[in-house]
Amino acid sequence: MSSKNNRKMAILIIMMFMFSIVAGCGQKAPTSEQPAPAAAAINVGINAELSGGVASYGTNAKDGALLAIEQINAAGGVLGKQLNPIVRDCKSLADEAMSVSAALAGDKIVAQIGPLTSGNVAGSTPVMTENKIPLIAPAATAANVTVDEKTGLTRDYIFRVCFIDPFQGTLMAQFAADNLKVKNAVIYGDTSSDYGKGLAEYFKKTFTEKGGTILATEGFVKNDRDFRATLTKIKGLNPEFIYVPGYYEEVAPLIKQARELGITAAIGGPDGWDSPDMVAVAGASALNKTYFTNHYSSQDTDPKVVAFVQAFKAKYNKEPDAFAALGYDSVQIMVQGIKDAQAADPVKLAGALSKIKNFEGITGKMSIDASHNPVKAGVIIEFKDGKQVMNSRIQP
């Protein structure tokens, strides 16, 4: 009976599969809502999450990218040609990101900016690779975005301008060793996520390379709320620094409990800390002497950043966040690539992008490495009496 059922099941699955292929063919990408591009212009595709769950990421990155295009066009364009942005919404869905990419490929774009999340970039990747058009991801931080995990090979047409998650561990270790001048540290991180584990690993590597000592490695898991036992143990070790790679839901009560137990050491973490709930839960005074890494700060006093923030505010009447800055940088690095290649040709652009060195972006100076990840600076944000204040910029 089971074999008969299995066969029926198999036939059913095959039928469903075939149907989905047929349906997929029928579901042609939406027709362009953009005006027909001028013949001499360079088409730039923007595939962004303008609606759906992460609409705020996509909208801000698109705004940043459009600002960059406007500035470049005002300055005479690239290789004497104007840039023509073609903006399409992938609705925060990976399959939608794929069909948007197919439509953009039909628009003869030179490169695609976006999507924002790693999952949506993964959805778009096969189409871009097939059509040999570079994809520049502003904010996709998962390691496997630019590298095929199975083969270990770099994806030829996928690039990004943000650092990967675990790299923040390196930045924080550098900050702790060089700026705070601490000699020893304890790692107490989220062990239930790749995010926490990767960060802890990178922190440990860089911190020990710089001559620091890791006194202990402890862990918590998502939804933990009681950290007192481990914190009491850590207090006994008397470390100068505690690295807490995790998300704010756990980190905020953790820091509060640490200070209640009388731990005064500096505490550091990654961008998962970036939430208003940190101050609401932990309280302003507990957060003094705590630092986290991030891609960018609008408080940066670097003249390039100041100019960008001013221009962005003037155009959109809002503060540019990290996504806006990364969207802006995505366009700028593409323009650099076109100049280097001396041609607005997607294949030549991909070759040029993989060789970019010391590109000066809003989010820092970056060089694209063999895995198509930028080696670049990050910023350290410090909590001062409940306010996020930019502490410094860390160049690896």
Partner: protein
């Protein structure tokens, strides 16, 4: 030595919360042999009632706790009437699955009504003070949690040992049919059990809110499970067992994190549980027969 005492303080505070939740599990099990998996979520509802009492009505924490206990006592009675009573003569697995259903209902109804994000228990509700006693950091909230848990347990013991309701509960637990013949209203007694158990869970919920500052609609799951384990550890159905089981669980977790490795906290805690149950399957206080509530 100092560190050990500090860890004991940590463990006792955590254990008091587990013990309070475990009491509700054990009381309900003792009387109708049902593992009420919705119990942890009743604790969550209690935490939210306490939260709204503090933020919207501006009450102090004791009033908030009493309000939460009252609302949840009522909620417990309703849950029993609607979900469990019609199934009292059905198979035990049917009731068990219903309990899981009620658990999801409470969780996702709260998400629907209030939203999935965590809420921050206002710091003004309970001003935290640290007492530094010879290098030992004891917080007034440790004292608050521990003392109120103890007071509630003493009241519970009094109700069960010396009041008519308590006597009825013990009688129904011992032999439901005989209790009916003696003129005890079984329905009323079971309702009372749910009311008291849920009120204790609500108190624990408000304590969690005060102690850890944040509450969310899924906060009941893990403490609920651990309290269930504590109840089994002490011998499910036996009230002193639940208290001891709760404290053992809290201390065990604390000691493993403090002196072993925090990465193995739950593994060791649950490993010890398996060990105890292998040696003594009825739990620490378990007897083969005897008085159960």
């Amino acid at each position: 030595m100092l560190e050990l005492i500090q860890q004991l303080v940590n463990g006792l505070s955590l254990g008091a919360i587990y013990a309070l939740i475990a009491l509700g599990y054990t009381m309900v099990y003792g009387i109708i042999k049902l593992i009420n998996f919705a119990h942890g979520d009743v604790m969550m509802v209690g935490a939210f009632v306490g939260y709204f009492s503090v933020t919207l009505l501006g009450t102090n924490i004791l009033v908030a706790m009493l309000a939460a206990m009252a609302v949840c006592a009522f909620l417990g009675v309703i849950i029993e009437k609607v979900a469990y009573r019609p199934l009292r003569n059905a198979t035990r697995i049917a009731s068990l699955i219903t309990a899981i259903g009620v658990s999801f209902l409470l969780e996702y109804l709260t998400i629907f009504l209030i939203g999935p994000n965590q809420k921050v228990f206002p710091a003004s509700a309970f001003t935290v003070k640290a007492y530094d006693i010879a290098g030992l950091s004891i917080l007034n909230k440790d004292v608050f949690v521990f003392v109120s848990a103890l007071v509630l347990m003493v009241i519970l013991q009094y109700i069960i040992k010396y009041t008519k309701t308590g006597k009825a509960m013990r009688a129904v637990s011992l032999d439901m049919e005989a209790a009916v013949l003696m003129g005890i209203s079984v329905d009323k007694t079971i309702s009372m059990t749910f009311a008291i158990g849920s009120a204790l869970a609500a108190a624990a919920g408000v304590m969690v809110g005060v102690y850890y500052n944040t509450i969310n609609p899924l906060m009941g799951i893990i403490p609920g499970l651990k309290a269930f384990v504590a109840a089994v550890l002490g011998g499910i159905g036996i009230i002193p067992g639940a208290m001891v089981g709760g404290f053992v669980m809290g201390l065990l977790e604390t000691m493993v994190s403090g002196y072993g490795n925090s990465l193995y906290r739950d593994a060791v805690a649950f490993g010890v549980l398996i060990l105890i149950l292998l040696i003594k399957p009825t739990g620490i206080f378990g007897k083969d027969s005897g008085e159960k509530v």
